[in-house]
């Protein structure tokens, strides 16, 4: 058997490949990793089955090809309507499924790689759309689409956890807008740094969502902010993990990830999704102002009620006052009448008491008159004395005593014979 040197083997392989893969081919694959060097994009392509890699190969887009493809995609009006910004940049992201036109190239020193000549962005978008729909279906099946929406907003939103990127224009807009609101409401805004595009989105976003979840009692809501970007960039948010976490989040989540056309899935599962970061700020301020308006309404109601009530009470008091006065005066009148009556009665009774005494006195006099000596003598009775002593019985006298007898008009003497 002949022995080849490595170079001879590789030259042989190059010829085989060049002969058999003369033309370019369309290939579908997932982007495992992507790196940029001097305008050239170095990509690890891979294919997965049930999360394990079943095929893998390196690929490259040379800087000149990249510019050409970018130009073609940019001139496509359909593409432009689908992506707000750079389509190619959106497609060429880790985890993206892409369809590329490539030429197999084998170099004796650098080995096998695919030279990418063209990219079918519609394939990626279609795949993403399919994934998006699949995700929405799954979330719907699990009853998660409205879960966060059903959370009651606190009466007043003041403590806000913001997940954004420090450098995102949207975050600055939000910060300015909410701190200089028309009503001068105060807000406590806590910032949680996360990647807002690229492969780190899921990891950093999940890390911050978990952090906020632990502190959820300290916040009224979470706001996820991003300042513009293509729809492909947004697809980084549309992972089952992020979407389920947001759906099940214990406090309301608002999104302001800056896009005008379609909603991404996190917008669907969020409590409220607003088109821009400033719209989120306006939404929160408006929510609070509704509460203030209701307070003013209550205050007005109380004022009305109090003044009505005071009027009623004043009226009743006046009535009571009037009736108390008339009742008191009536009472006084009664007392005066009673005093008048007593005033008449007292002398009458006193007079009759005196008369009665007089009458008693007269009776005494009559009786005294009746039993007086003079009256007795008049009636023919006489008084008899012996030795100057009145007698009333026989044994007080004896034979020979001289009796002195008084009658009405004089005294006569007599002698006791027997």
């Amino acid at each position: 058997m002949k022995t080849y040197s490595l170079q001879e083997l590789n030259e042989f392989l190059r010829r085989v490949i060049a002969l058999n893969f003369n033309d370019s081919v369309w290939i579908t694959a997932e982007i495992g990793q992507i790196g940029l060097s001097r305008g050239h994009y170095y990509i690890d392509l891979l294919q997965k089955e049930e999360n394990s890699i079943i095929a893998q190969m390196s690929a490259v887009i040379w800087a000149t090809d990249y510019k050409r493809i970018q130009r073609i995609l940019g001139s496509n009006s359909v593409m432009q309507s689908l992506m707000a910004q750079d389509t190619l940049k959106g497609v060429l992201a880790e985890g993206m499924e892409i369809k590329l036109k490539g030429r197999l190239d084998f170099h004796e020193k650098f080995g096998l790689k695919i030279i990418i000549e063209d990219i079918d962005a519609t394939y990626t978008i279609g795949k993403l759309e399919l994934q998006r729909r699949q995700l929405i279906n799954d979330l719907n099946r699990k009853g998660l689409l409205a879960r966060n929406k059903n959370l009651r907003l606190p009466t007043v939103i003041q403590r806000i956890a913001v997940i954004s990127s420090e450098t995102a224009a949207g975050w600055q807009d939000f910060k300015n807008h909410i701190s200089h609101n028309d009503y001068q409401y105060a807000f406590d805004v806590q910032f949680f740094q996360s990647a807002m595009q690229g492969s780190l989105v899921e990891k950093t976003m999940m890390h911050q969502l978990d952090s906020i979840k632990i502190l959820s009692h300290l916040f009224d809501c979470v706001v996820i902010i991003r300042g513009g970007g293509s729809r492909l960039d947004l697809s980084a948010f549309d992972t089952p993990t992020i979407c389920e976490t947001i759906a099940k989040f214990p406090i309301p989540v608002f999104t302001g990830i800056g896009h005008e056309t379609d909603q991404s899935v996190i917008d669907l599962v969020a409590h409220s999704s607003l088109k821009t970061p400033t719209a989120v700020a306006d939404f929160i301020v408006a929510h609070n102002s509704r509460f203030e308006a209701s307070l003013i309404e209550i205050q007005n109601f109380i004022n009305h009620y109090v003044s009505d009530r005071l009027n009623t009470e004043r009226g009743e008091l006046q009535l009571a006052e009037n009736s108390i006065q008339s009742a008191a005066l009536y009472f006084i009148k009664n007392q005066q009448n009673m005093l008048n009556y007593i005033e008449k009665q007292v002398p009458q009774y006193a007079e009759s008491a005196v008369k009665f005494e007089n009458l008693k006195m007269k009776n005494f006099i009559n009786i005294i008159d009746l039993i007086s000596i003079e009256a007795t003598l008049k009636r023919g009775f006489s008084l008899t004395k012996v030795n100057n002593k009145y007698i009333s019985q026989l044994d007080e006298i004896k034979e020979g005593d001289i009796l002195e007898t008084q009658i009405l008009d004089g005294v006569f003497k007599s002698k006791v014979i027997n």
Binding site: E321, A328, L339, I342, E343, A353, F356
Partner: protein
């Protein structure tokens, strides 16, 4: 009811005393010796009560005038 200081005139007490005198007179329960004294006391009490009523009446009317004037 407001409490009266001792020695201060009390309409209620005066009225009770008057009633007692009247009752005693009605039922011949007063000795002639005390009659003059009682009648004198009764007229004193009547005078005091009248003054008190008059004064109270005036106070009430003044209060009402004040209330009317303050509105």
């Amino acid at each position: 009811m407001s409490k009266k200081k001792s020695g201060e005139f009390s309409y209620d007490e005066a009225m009770r005393e008057l009633q007692t005198i009247v009752n005693s007179l009605q039922h011949d329960a007063i000795k002639i010796d005390d009659l003059g004294q009682n009648v004198k006391r009764a007229s004193e009490l009547i005078k005091l009560c009248r003054e008190k009523l008059h004064q109270t009446e005036k106070e009430i009317q003044n209060l009402n005038d004040d209330a009317d004037g303050s509105e």
